[in-house]
């Protein structure tokens, strides 16, 4: 293995985890906020 390849692998893994992790967190935030807003609207309609 060429010298310093470990740094390159670490760099690309960090990039993938950072971009992938942030995307997943945004998708989860959107889903949760939508659900909460729908639940509040439903409760208000039913009250």
């Amino acid at each position: 293995m060429a010298p310093n390849v470990g740094y390159v692998i670490a760099a690309y893994l960090i990039t993938a985890f950072a971009l992938g992790g942030y995307t997943l967190s945004l998708l989860s935030r959107a889903r949760n906020a939508g659900r909460r807003a729908d639940a509040i609207a439903r409760r208000r309609r039913d009250a």
């Binding site: 060429a2 010298p3 310093n4 390849v5 740094y7 390159v8 670490a10 760099a11 690309y12 960090i14 990039t15 950072a18 971009l19 942030y22 995307t23 945004l26 998708l27 935030r29 959107a30 906020a33 939508g34 909460r36 807003a37 509040i40 609207a41 208000r44």
Partner: protein
């Protein structure tokens, strides 16, 4: 009824657009990875470790772009007082913080084998760390008050003043004696970089830019949904107050 159908159609189109952008970003990142890790040759002096540049430089470019969008959206908000501009600024600042932190982390991974140290108080590194602190501060300012208009105004002022650091970061390698290398692509005259390496670098910049566009659409949707949630939660109180 027609308005509801129109809203539903608009939502479906925007969700489809978001999905298409996501697939385009993923494909562009894959092509960029192949060009950077397989096609581009290793550097004559630095060897394999130079391949970190193909992600470090695009991350730094995206940090500049994100904060430029914050700057423009902040001016637009102060001028028009339209919430949509504040939402754009907040979304871009959050993504900009991610890319700045990523650029710093990748730079450190390159610095250790090439410079022999993870970190040094070099002008480019120091001004970039200050940039990160400014926009973490911007996000903190957004949490100080619950009043949406006051929050947007304070944040817009920080977004405009904070942008002053971006040209300082970029020109720090020209203005001061720096360990960090000077501009190789954005410079007067032809780029000082081999053709395949330049292609890999430009492809990386394009892939990260498409990824930024995708993250912006996602983050803007989160912003809209969180605002709707707050509106729904507050509306009975408003009715009582009336």
């Amino acid at each position: 009824m027609a308005a509801t159908a129109e809203r539903a159609l608009g939502k479906a189109i925007s969700r489809n657009g978001e999905r298409t952008l996501g697939i385009a970003a993923l494909a562009a990142l894959a092509v960029s990875a192949v060009l950077s890790l397989v096609v581009a040759p290793p550097d004559a002096v630095q060897g394999e470790v130079q391949r970190i540049m193909y992600v470090h430089v695009p991350a730094a470019w995206l940090a500049y772009l994100s904060f430029f969008v914050v700057f423009v959206a902040s001016i637009a908000y102060l001028k028009t007082k339209k919430t949509r501009w504040d939402r754009v600024a907040a979304a871009s600042a959050e993504i900009g913080v991610l890319f700045t932190a990523l650029a710093i982390a990748l730079g450190m991974l390159w610095g250790k084998p090439v410079w022999g140290t993870w970190w040094t108080w070099d002008p480019r590194l120091t001004t970039t760390a200050v940039l990160l602190l400014i926009y973490v501060g911007y996000l903190a300012v957004r949490r100080i008050t619950d009043n949406p208009s006051r929050r947007a105004t304070w944040a817009a002022v920080v977004g405009i003043v904070g942008f002053v650091d971006v040209p300082i970061v970029h020109l720090s390698v020209v203005w001061w004696r720096s360990l960090h290398q000077g501009p190789t692509v954005l410079r007067l005259g032809a780029p000082e970089i081999e053709g395949t390496m330049l292609l890999a670098l430009l492809c990386g910049v394009a892939a990260f830019t498409i990824t930024y566009a995708y993250l912006m659409t996602l983050r803007l949707r989160v912003g809209r949904l969180e605002e709707r949630e707050a509106r729904e939660a507050l509306s009975p109180i408003v009715e009582v107050e009336r």
